[in-house]
Amino acid sequence: MAEKPRIRLPKQAGKGEVVEIKTLIAHVMESGQRKDPSGKIVPRKIIKRFACAFNGKPVFECELEPAIAANPYLQFSVKVEESGVFAFTWTDDDGAVITAEEKITVA
C-alpha cells in the first residue's frame, strides 16, 4: 500500500491528440475466495474502483472485481485539448483512497 503507483504517459502532446496512459498499483487484490492453510476463507480486500480525471473533469472510470489480477494494471486513452493535470484515484474495499497526479503540456 505504501508503494507509489506507477503511471506512464507522455509529458507533451499535440492539441486534440489521443494519449495512452498506463497505470500499475501494488495491491494483493485478495479475492475473498481463497482459503488459508487452516481452511478459513481469506477475507476479500481489493481495489474496487479506479478513476481518472483531467483538469477536474472525469474522463475514465473502472469498477474492479475480484477477477482482476493482483497489482492491477490499467491502460486507457485520453484526448487532450489543453495543458493540465491528470488526477488518478484508486479506492480500496476498506475505504482507503490512493491518489496520484501527473502533468501534461499540450502545444
Partner: protein, 151 residues
C-alpha cells in the same frame, strides 16, 4: 465450479455465441446462469451486435492468475455518439463480473487493457453500450492451463 464438461462446453460455444448475439437472455444450459444474468442486466435483453469490438485475449493462458485482456471499440467518441460503458464477464469464474469500464467523449478512444484472473477454461465476453443506444459484443474462449482463483 464446473457445471459442464469441457467437451460439452466446447460443443456449446457456437450456440452460446448465437444466443448472446441474438440477444436471447433466457436461462440456457450453455452459460452458467449468473453470467447470463449479468449480461442480461447490461443489455436489458436487447440485441448486441458483433464485429465492432476488437478483443485481444490469448487463446491459451498458461497462468489463469494473470491474463492480459485488451479491447478497442470501433465507434466515434463525440459528445453525441460515444461508448459509455463496457462490461467484461467470465462465465465460469466464481463470480462472473470481471470489470466495468466507463468512458467519456474525452476518452478519445474506447479502448482499455488490464490483466484478469480466470478460474479455468471458459468464454470471456466483452459488452459495450453507446450513448446512442447501440450494444456491441465480442467473445473469446480462453484455455487456461493453471486456474487463477486459488482452487
Amino acid at each position: 465450479m464446473r457445471f459442464i464438461s469441457r467437451r460439452d462446453a466446447l460443443r456449446l460455444i457456437p450456440g452460446l455465441t448465437a444466443l448472446v448475439w441474438s440477444g436471447t437472455i433466457e436461462r440456457s444450459q450453455a452459460t452458467p446462469a449468473e453470467a447470463t444474468t449479468e449480461i442480461g442486466r447490461f443489455t436489458g435483453g436487447r440485441t448486441a451486435d458483433p464485429g465492432k469490438i476488437a478483443l485481444d485475449l490469448p487463446e491459451i493462458a498458461e497462468n489463469g492468475n494473470s491474463v492480459t485482456l485488451a479491447f478497442d471499440i470501433d465507434h466515434p467518441m463525440t459528445p453525441e455518439r460515444h461508448v459509455t460503458e463496457v462490461l467484461v464477464v467470465a462465465d465460469s469464474n466464481p463470480s462472473p463480473r470481471v470489470a466495468t469500464f466507463r468512458f467519456t467523449p474525452m476518452s478519445g478512444r474506447a479502448a482499455a487493457a488490464t490483466r484478469i484472473r480466470l478460474a479455468g477454461t471458459q468464454v470471456v465476453s466483452v459488452l459495450a453500450k453507446t450513448s446512442d443506444g447501440k450494444l456491441f459484443v465480442a467473445q473469446r474462449q480462453v484455455k487456461v492451463t493453471v486456474g487463477g482463483c486459488g482452487g
